[in-house]
């Protein structure tokens, strides 16, 4: 199992990435918004400690809706199973913006400024997504002659949220210090979990809106 801290410099966020996550696209934010972003990013540099973990395991796709890994049957559902086709092994993973980031959020919640809370929240999302990208880049380094699929998570596409329990069991129950509550909420909040298929012949297509059933999503590409 590969369980690691990520130096912040490896995933350092640019203001543009944060603006992009908010949804600005080509538009420009108010000066105050930009100031808040720059201030928070400077703070992040000093304090944040993202982490990732993955377990590489053999496995097989069973029927059209499940993946068998070690003694666990992951009921990934038809959509994700199809996207995992031809995988010869799997990376079961978790990643988090970290407990340090969670502490910063809790600290800032004591101030009343909702603008700062919101931007910090978006920054946390961007950090954990980049930690996920970093994890994928590590896979590429460690398996140079293999391809890998996009990352897929329980809670998406009929892969039930409660299946996170199996992922946590495979990862030793407290991967990167992340805990799982009885309703399958991860703590720290800015964390992700899931599976990546590895093989010489897998689909590398991005998971996109076309597969997702969340019709009310504000990020949905029209």
């Amino acid at each position: 199992m590969d369980d690691n801290s990520i130096a912040y410099s490896e995933i350092e966020l640019s203001p543009e990435e944060v603006l992009n996550e908010i949804g600005y696209g080509e538009s420009h934010p108010d000066n105050e918004v930009m100031d808040v972003i720059l201030q928070l990013l400077a703070l992040l540099k000093r304090e944040v400690q993202p982490r990732y973990v993955y377990l590489i395991s053999d496995g097989r796709i069973e029927g059209t809706t499940a993946v068998h890994i070690q003694n666990h049957v992951l009921n990934t559902g038809p959509t994700i199973s199809r996207l995992l086709e031809k995988s010869t092994s799997f990376a079961v993973f978790a990643a988090t913006a970290g407990v340090e980031f969670e502490r910063i959020i809790q600290e800032y919640k004591k101030t009343e400024d909702i603008l700062v809370h919101y931007i910090l929240d978006v920054i946390g999302t961007t950090v954990v997504e980049k930690a996920g990208d970093y994890l994928e880049s590590k896979l590429e380094k460690n398996f140079p002659d293999m391809l890998h699929t996009h990352r897929f998570s329980p809670g998406y596409c009929n892969w039930h949220l409660t299946e996170q329990r199996k992922i946590f069991a495979l990862l030793g129950n407290r991967p990167c210090g992340i805990t799982l509550s009885d309703v399958c909420l991860m703590h720290p909040i800015k964390s992700i979990s899931g599976i990546i298929g590895i093989g010489k012949d897998v689909q590398t297509k991005k998971y996109a809106c076309q597969y997702c059933e969340l019709e009310t999503c504000y990020k949905r590409k029209k």
Partner: protein, 211 residues
């Protein structure tokens, strides 16, 4: 009277210090507080809201306007009380038991406050007992429930059943929201309405109280 046009601009641009200053001047000029709110402040909020809906403004700008509006409203509150002008209404809001997500709910709370509602924000992981106690204590007109996961949204149904059992269902409208919620779910569990974002939540709240 110049101050009052600047007040509109201050709120639209989300400039809190300017909004406060202009409100003070408008009060000194003895402009009717209800007219300040209805004809200038709320109009600015409507404008930023419509820019948001049209993709010309984003969540941060919306929040800055709401913040400026809230600051200006604080100054007008005592005058509204003195003149017996009714407030928009009282709202209790919280994220349901088991769920710890709060940014979306806080955005909704801010926008509602910026629209003149009295908002009691209970926080996250709130049980039905706590919701009921707060609704009764504050004589709330609307209860807002938030959840971000399919595993926690079902608790909303429990809250609504408990409100019925407590005999207060006919005294309070119930609005729900959060990423996995949609209007079909709202209907199914007997809520009065759903909206997909904080801006739309304000119109929904106004609409529910008008009906």
């Amino acid at each position: 009277m110049e101050s009052i046009d600047k007040l509109y601009e201050a709120i639209l641009k989300g400039n809190l210090p300017l909004a406060v200053e202009m409100t003070k001047i408008a009060i000194e000029e003895k402009i009717d507080p209800k007219s300040i709110i209805d004809n200038y402040m709320s109009k600015a909020m409507d404008e930023i809201g419509s820019r948001f809906e049209n993709g010309k403004a984003f969540v941060p700008e919306l929040l800055m306007s709401a913040r400026a509006m809230k600051g200006a409203l604080e100054l007008l509150k005592p005058l509204l009380v003195d003149n017996n002008i009714p407030r928009a209404g009282t709202i209790v809001i919280g994220t349901v038991k088991g769920d710890l997500h709060d940014i979306g709910k806080n955005l909704v709370a801010s926008m509602l406050e910026g629209s003149g509602f009295e908002v009691i924000n209970l926080g996250v992981d709130i049980s039905s007992e706590k919701f009921i106690a707060s609704v009764v204590e504050h004589k709330a007109n609307i209860l807002c429930l938030s959840a971000l996961l399919t595993t926690t949204m079902n608790y909303m149904k429990e809250v609504i059943r408990a409100i019925e059992t407590a005999g207060v269902r006919d005294k309070v409208k119930i609005m729900i929201g959060g990423a996995p919620i949609n209007s079909a779910f709202a209907k199914e569990i007997g809520a009065d309405g759903y909206s997909s974002n904080a801006n739309a939540a304000v119109s929904l709240a106004k609409q529910l109280l008008a009906s």
